[in-house]
């Protein structure tokens, strides 16, 4: 959800600010985890979680002090962004729920869901590495807010979506599929990002989502 939102922000030249991304991730994760753990994952729970998370996050925006210059950076702190956050949260919720409760969909539908989860998780971990690296090196949030660009992000997400779908749909051997997913993600990050260390970190950025997706879907 957070990375879909990040893509929208990059496309509309709204700052991708590491502190707010971290806060957003924490609140959304906490809301989703607690609703699923304490209540369940029905239609009503989905509606509650997708509305409560963005509203609580908006309260944070309203009461917290700005940490970057609002004259230079546009931030997603207006009321209307609640609806965008609800929409991307609902979309992500639906995809992941279909992935876990996969009775109704076929092989191709499952491959699309897995590719979606894989691409956005790799993109998120790769973005976290990039922003954290600059944050730790400079301690300047305004420099960090300029780290990501829409074109490279789109190249990475779309290519990972394609590779993910092809490998999840056509390769049935789990070991070969997992190795190919991780290696292709590393190669794509290296080719698009043109950075060796970032590509090396991609081993973890891709390995973690591939492992988690396998663990959650292996009973099928």
């Amino acid at each position: 959800m957070v990375m879909l939102d990040v893509l929208y922000h990059l496309a509309t030249e709204t700052a991708v600010h590491i502190n707010y991304v971290a806060v957003k991730f924490t609140i959304i994760y906490l809301t989703l985890f607690l609703v699923t753990y304490w209540v369940g994952k029905s239609w009503n729970d989905a509606v509650f979680a997708t509305i409560a998370g963005p509203v609580l996050f908006y309260i944070y925006y309203v009461f917290a002090d700005p940490t970057i210059n609002r004259d230079v950076f546009k931030i997603d702190d207006s009321f209307g962004y609640i609806f965008l956050h609800i929409a991307v949260f609902a979309l992500s919720y639906a995809v992941v729920r279909n992935l876990i409760d996969h009775r109704a969909q076929g092989q191709r539908g499952l491959a699309v869901g897995k590719a979606f989860a894989f691409a956005f998780a790799v993109f998120g971990l790769d973005a976290a590495y990039q922003m954290l690296k600059v944050q730790l090196a400079t301690h300047d949030e305004e420099i960090v807010a300029r780290v990501m660009s829409v074109d490279t992000s789109l190249y990475i997400v779309l290519s990972l979506l394609l590779v993910g779908f092809l490998l999840y749909n056509y390769v049935s051997n789990i070991k070969i599929q997992s190795a190919a997913l991780v290696l292709s993600a590393v190669l794509l990050i290296w080719l698009i990002g043109m950075h060796g260390v970032r590509a090396f970190v991609g081993l973890a950025s891709a390995g973690i989502p591939v492992g988690l997706i396998y663990l959650y879907t292996r009973e099928r």
Binding site: T26, V39, A52
Partner: protein
């Protein structure tokens, strides 16, 4: 007493105090600043509020 009810009440109060109380009142009058910045107080408050809100939802949806 139900654990979720206690969670909702306690964290609801903590969340409201840390999120909505002005910084000076929290640090000087109430002495609850804990040496933290304003945004850290808001973060603590929002996390507490999130847990409290979901606890209330869980209480309403008790099966």
């Amino acid at each position: 007493m139900n654990k979720k009810l206690i969670t909702a009440i306690v964290l609801g109060i903590v969340g409201i105090v840390f999120t909505f109380t002005p910084y000076k009142m929290l640090t000087r009058t109430l002495h609850l600043g804990l040496g933290l910045r304003h945004n850290d107080h808001i973060m603590i408050g929002i996390i507490a509020l999130t847990i409290a809100v979901v606890a209330v939802y869980a209480l309403i949806n008790r099966k």
